[in-house]
Symmetry: C2
Subunit: 121 residues, 2 copies
């Protein structure tokens, strides 16, 4: 596997490529868009998404573009409408993680985790 060098670590090249994708995806509204599309189970247009999530058309479109640029979403035009759908299923793992774990820690809160680490000094 090209992701790991002889050191057993994921190489920087891979991390530098992947990190921005995760970073850009880890945005409240964008995560919500993905979650919404997942629940709907199929493509939805900008207006639907915006209305369902209570976000402005312009903002919604911007976020969708960002997600599409990252390859997370795909888009298909149908007349006046642009339908977006999830093209990268692996991003759902993030949502699962958030849902189950209340994600990536934070179940007890970062603050608690940190102060615990400090007192344990």
């Amino acid at each position: 596997m090209s992701a790991s060098t002889t050191t057993g670590l994921i190489d920087m090249e891979t991390l530098e490529r992947v990190a921005p994708v995760i970073r850009l995806t880890a945005h409240p509204l964008r995560l919500r868009i993905i979650d919404y599309l997942r629940r709907e189970g199929g493509p939805r247009c900008v207006t639907d998404i915006g209305e369902a999530l209570g976000s402005d058309q312009s903002v919604t479109s911007q976020q969708l573009r960002i997600l599409r640029d990252q390859g997370v979403l795909g888009a298909r035009r149908d007349g006046c409408h642009m339908f977006y759908n999830i093209t990268d299923p692996s991003v759902l793992l993030l949502l699962d993680c958030i849902r189950e774990h209340h994600c990536c820690r934070s179940s007890d809160g970062p603050t608690a985790a940190r102060s615990a680490a400090q007192t344990a000094h």
Copy 2:
């Protein structure tokens, strides 16, 4: 589960709390630090980490602080040394995802994914 409202979606409050943690973790060097600590299997000090990863002391310390603030890492002082370890195992899921999947898509590249979505219009 408090993460989901009656809509079945993860609520914004949760996303707004969790997103920054993921976003801050999704940084090449920080991911590498976590990966390094995982491989080592135990606490390591700043110098070790910096040398292993070829990053400046100042930068290394800064990244470690960020990760500690997020509750991803914990720290323990032993004399002159500060030993860091992974306190939030859920962050390892991210690494696993990257390792296996070459992560979160990108195996074929975002560009390919996007143009594919476009041509499939």
